[in-house]
C-alpha cells in the first residue's frame, strides 16, 4: 500500500429501517464512519442497538423487511494501479457478488447454523474456492483448503469431517478460515465468540490477532463485551438504539468514557480485580425501537439526564483533539452543564490529549 492513510470503507449518513411507511422502525440512524486500511473497528452495544443491522446493511445482506433508507457507502478496492471506488449501495447484485467474500467477508455468531450439516467441511471450502477462482483445479483447491485450516490451527484431516463432529471452537475456526480463503481486505466479525467458552474465546481472539498481523486485513468486530474490544480494536464505536453515542480510540474509551451509556456498559461487567462492591449496571430495560423516547434515546435510563435531554436529540460532536465523538448534552459547551467527575476523568494514558 503506497498511501498509508487510505480508507478502505467510508460510510456517510447510513440508515436502515425495518418495514415501510408509518410503521417503519429505524434500526440504524445516520451512522458516519471511516475505516482505515488494516485497522480494527470495534462496535459495541446491546441486542437491538443496531450493530448487526449496520453490517448487514453495509454488505447488502439485509432481508425484507429491512430496507436501507439512506446514505452512502464507498468501499475502496485496492488494485494494481491505486484504488477503485466501489459504491456499495448503487452496485448491482452481480457486482456485489464479486466483491463479497473476495474483498469483504463476514463471520457470523453461530457457526453451527452457518455450515451445512450434510456436507463435509472440505466441500464447503471447495465450493467457495471454485466459485471465485476458476483457475485452480481440484487438487490445488484441496491443498489451499488444507493450508487455510493450518492457518487457524486445525489439522487438514478436518476437511473430511462433518460440522457436528467438530467442537464449537473448531467450527468457528473453520468459519474464520473460510472467511480468509480469498484474502479479503475487510473481514466483518459479528459476535464470533459469544457462543463460546471463555478459554476458546481467548484462543480464537489470539489467533485473529496473529492472522491480522500476518495478512493485514481490516476488521469490523461486533460484540457486547467492551473489555474484549479494548484488546482487539484500534477504535471503538458504541451504539445505542441505532445511534452512535460515542466513538474513540479503544484505550481512551475504556480509560475515560465520556458517554453515560459507555460508562454504564463498562460497569455492567463485574471486575476481576479489586475490592468486591455492589455495582448497579444500567437501570431500566433496553429501548423499544417502536416507541423511542423523544430527545436522547438513553435519557430514560440515564442517571445524569437533564431537561434538554428529554427534549432534543444530542448531536454527535467532536470532543477533543483525539477525534473522539460523543453524542451527549453534558459535553455540549452551549449547554454549559457541569460534567460529573466519572465522565470527565483525565486521560492517564500517554497518547491522546488531556480532555
Amino acid at each position: 500500500m503506497t498511501t498509508e492513510q487510505q480508507n478502505i470503507l467510508e460510510v456517510k449518513d447510513f440508515s436502515v429501517s425495518y418495514g415501510y411507511g408509518d410503521s417503519a422502525v429505524r434500526a440504524v440512524s445516520d451512522v458516519n464512519f471511516t475505516l482505515g486500511t488494516g485497522h480494527v473497528l470495534g462496535v459495541a452495544g446491546e441486542s437491538g442497538s443496531g450493530k448487526s443491522t449496520l453490517v448487514y446493511g453495509l454488505t447488502r445482506l439485509l432481508r425484507a423487511p429491512g430496507v436501507i433508507s439512506g446514505g452512502d457507502v464507498v468501499f475502496n478496492i485496492p488494485t494494481d494501479d491505486g484504488v477503485k471506488e466501489f459504491d456499495m449501495l448503487a452496485a448491482s447484485e452481480e457486482d456485489m457478488r464479486s466483491v463479497r467474500w473476495s474483498h469483504i467477508s463476514i463471520v457470523l455468531q453461530s457457526a453451527l447454523s452457518a455450515l451445512n450439516p450434510l456436507r463435509r467441511i472440505g466441500r464447503e471450502f471447495d465450493e467457495v474456492l471454485r466459485a471465485h477462482d476458476k483457475k485452480r483445479n481440484k487438487a490445488e483447491r484441496a491443498a489451499r483448503a488444507a493450508e487455510l485450516l493450518d492457518m487457524v490451527g486445525l489439522d487438514a484431516d478436518r476437511l473430511d469431517r462433518f460440522p457436528h463432529e467438530l467442537s464449537g471452537g473448531q467450527r468457528q475456526r473453520v468459519m474464520i478460515a473460510m472467511a480468509l480463503a480469498l484474502e479479503p481486505e475487510l473481514v466483518i466479525m459479528d459476535e464470533p465468540t459469544t457462543a463460546l467458552d471463555v478459554v476458546t474465546q481467548r484462543e480464537i481472539v489470539s489467533e485473529l490477532y496473529e492472522l491480522r498481523k500476518k495478512l493485514g486485513f481490516a476488521m469490523i468486530f461486533i460484540t457486547h463485551d467492551l473489555s474484549l474490544l479494548v484488546e482487539l480494536a484500534d477504535e471503538i464505536m458504541v451504539m445505542y438504539a441505532g445511534h452512535i453515542v460515542e466513538r474513540a480510540v479503544a484505550t481512551d474509551l475504556y480509560n475515560t468514557p465520556r458517554h453515560p451509556y459507555t460508562l454504564g456498559l463498562m460497569n455492567s461487567f463485574p471486575p476481576l480485580h479489586g475490592e468486591r462492591k455492589v455495582l448497579t449496571g444500567i437501570p431500566g430495560s433496553p429501548p423499544d425501537l417502536k416507541a423511542l423516547p423523544t430527545g436522547c434515546t438513553f435519557s430514560p435510563r440515564c442517571p445524569y439526564a437533564m431537561d434538554i435531554c428529554r427534549q432534543q436529540v444530542p448531536p454527535l460532536s467532536t470532543l477533543d483533539d483525539t477525534g473522539r465523538l460523543v453524542a451527549c448534552w453534558l459535553h455540549e459547551p452551549s449547554v454549559g452543564a457541569a460534567v460529573p467527575v466519572e465522565l470527565s476523568k483525565k486521560n492517564v494514558s500517554t497518547k491522546g490529549g488531556v480532555a
Binding site: 473448531q170 484462543e203 479494548v230 463485574p270
Partner: protein, 341 residues
Amino acid sequence: MSDVTKGQVLLEAKGLTRHFQVRGDGGFFAKKRTVRAVDDVDVSLRAGHVVAVVGESGSGKSVLSRMLSRIIPPTGGELYLRGELVDVKAPRTLAYAREVQLVLQDPFASVNPVHKVMHAIERPLLIHGTPKADVVTRAHEVLESVSLTPPQQYLDRYPHELSGGQLQRINIARGLAVNPRVLLADEPISMLDVSVRLGVLNLLRDLCDDRNLAILYITHDIASARYIADETVVMYAGQIVERATDTSIIDAPVHPYTQLLVSSVPDPENLESRHDVASNVESSVRFNYEGCRFSPRCPQAMDICHGNQPPVTEVGPGHSSRCWLQASEAQRSAVTISTKQ
C-alpha cells in the same frame, strides 16, 4: 423464615456422581462407553450463602444442578436435605420440590408462550396447595419481591410482551412462589442483555441475604462468580478441580485449569499479557479418565499426571485444589511405589 439460621446447611451432596452410558464409536452395535458427567462432587448449600459453580460447557455443571433438583437421578453418592438422607432412587416428591427450586438459563424457552404470566406464577402455587383465594395476593407478593411493580401489569401480559430481563425475573419469581429454601440457578444471566445482567445478579444476592435462601449459581463467567459468591467451585470434566471460600480462587488460582480460565477473561487492566495463553492449543483429547482429567491440555503436566488421579490438597483456609503440583511428597511417592510394584 425463622426456622432456618444463616449458615445452616440446607442441601448437601456427598460424592454425587452421574455416569451416562452412550453408544461408542463404531455404529449401533458398538460397545457402550461411559461418560462420567459428574464424578464424586461434594457441595454444601447453606442458608444465606451463594455457591458458584464455574466451568466450561460439558464440565457437568448443569447435570449437577439437575441432580440437586432431582430431575436426573444420580448413579452414585448421597443427598441430604436439612441433614436427612434423601432416597435419590425414588421419584422426586412434592415436598422436595417445595424446598428446592430450579431456575433455567433461557427465559424465553422456560415460560409457556401461550399463557399469561399469571399462569406461570399460579401453577406452582396451586400444585403446592395454596388456597385459591390466596393465590392472587401471593402472586403479587412474589412479583414485588423480584422488583416487578406494579405486579398486575406483568401478570396480565404474555411472555412475548416482556424483555429478557423481565422474563428472567418472572422465572425467579416462579421459583420463589412456593417459598423454597434452596434456589438452583443454572446460568441465569447468560442469555440476558448486558445492561440488565447485574440487576438480576443483585436480585439473587438480595434474595439470599433477605430470605436466608441457599443459592447455587451456575455460570461460565468467573468474574460474575467473584461478584456474587461466598464459595466458588471450579469444575472440569465432571470433577471439582479447585474450590475456595473467598476470592483467592481468582486472585491466586493454584490449579492450572483455573489459571487458564482466569487468564482467558478479557482484562483491559492487563493488556500486556493478552496473547500469552495462546500457547495452550486446543487439544483433540479433551480429557483423560485414567489420570488427571485436565492433563492432556495442561501446560504443566508431569509424568505422574497422566496415569494417576490427583489427590485433593488443602492450599489455604477453605481453599483446595485437585492437582499433583500441590500434592505432598508423601502422596507422590505413594503413587510411584504402587505403580512400580
